[in-house]
């Protein structure tokens, strides 16, 4: 990994399947029907496909961090969720290094990450701070 401010990290992708949403409903004990019933999504005017759980989208952000920095320790993540990821979407997380500093012989790296799908950009924007 090239540790320079402005360096773009390696992209990470995942194809979202209905079985993933079903797993997350179980993991979160979440009864919200928008995750397993397309009619519930239609009723709230958010399209006609089941909506992925927000924490799953944040897990993709975390997976991208470890894909690029496997030995790191995450300190902070601030996630803004601007839109929905739907079942069958291909999620891609990209981003860049925004700051590098040293503290107590450790390297502190800040990232700005962006989760997009084939149809929408910046569905999740995350500011990350980690120790490499």
């Amino acid at each position: 990994m090239n540790l320079k401010i402005g360096h773009r990290i390696n992209q990470w992708s995942h194809h979202v399947r209905q079985e993933d949403l079903n797993s997350w409903s179980k993991i979160l004990n979440d009864p919200n029907p928008i995750h397993f019933d397309a009619n519930a999504v239609k009723k709230i005017g958010q399209g006609d496909k089941c909506i992925n759980q927000g924490p799953a989208n944040i897990a993709y952000i975390i997976n991208t961090i470890f894909y690029n920095f496997p030995k790191c320790k995450i300190l902070k993540i601030k996630n803004r969720l601007n839109g929905n990821v739907f079942v069958n979407d291909l999620v891609t997380v990209s981003g860049k290094i925004t700051n590098i500093s040293n503290k107590n012989e450790s390297i502190i790296i800040k990232l700005l990450l962006n989760l997009s799908t084939q149809e929408n950009n910046s569905l999740v924007v995350s500011e990350v701070e980690l120790i490499e």
């Binding site: 004990n29 919200n32 709230i44």
Partner: protein
């Protein structure tokens, strides 16, 4: 009508233990290979900062009922910030506490009138803070 008298309402709190099965389910459902060895097999996925939401002493359904909010309106997570002070480990019992900090009323072109619920959680292990989380939930009216 949303029950906004719940500002500063403390959740009953709860506990959770991360076992290998649930950690693997998270890995599998987010595109990770569970057979791929990591540096420390005892460290769990950091997303447990958010999974802890189901250990606040209410289910989400109970929380929305308490708020007098119909879950069929489609509540959505708007923002989540967490500070990780330690790693999550398998087979440890974590405590979760939290409270509702505030409500805000807003209007958007996309979803019309909605309320935002801000709440905070703290996850501890043996009285040491592991993670602090701030949530903003969007509640369409």
């Amino acid at each position: 009508m949303l029950n906004k008298d719940l500002i500063n309402h403390k959740f009953p709190g709860g506990t959770f233990t991360i076992d290998e099965e649930i950690n693997n389910l998270i890995k599998l459902s987010t595109g990770l290979d569970i057979n791929k060895k990591t540096l420390n097999e005892d460290i769990a996925h950091p997303i447990f900062s958010m999974v802890a939401l189901n250990s606040i002493g209410y289910t989400l359904e109970e929380l929305f009922n308490l708020l007098n909010y119909d879950v069929r309106k489609g509540p959505m997570l708007g923002e989540c910030e967490f500070n990780l002070l330690d790693n999550f480990s398998l087979d440890r019992n974590y405590k979760v506490n939290g409270y509702i900090e505030s409500f805000e009323s807003k209007v958007s072109k996309k979803i019309g009138n909605f309320d935002i619920m801000n709440f905070k959680l703290e996850i501890t292990f043996k009285n040491m803070i592991v993670s602090k989380i701030n949530y903003k939930w969007i509640l369409p009216i």
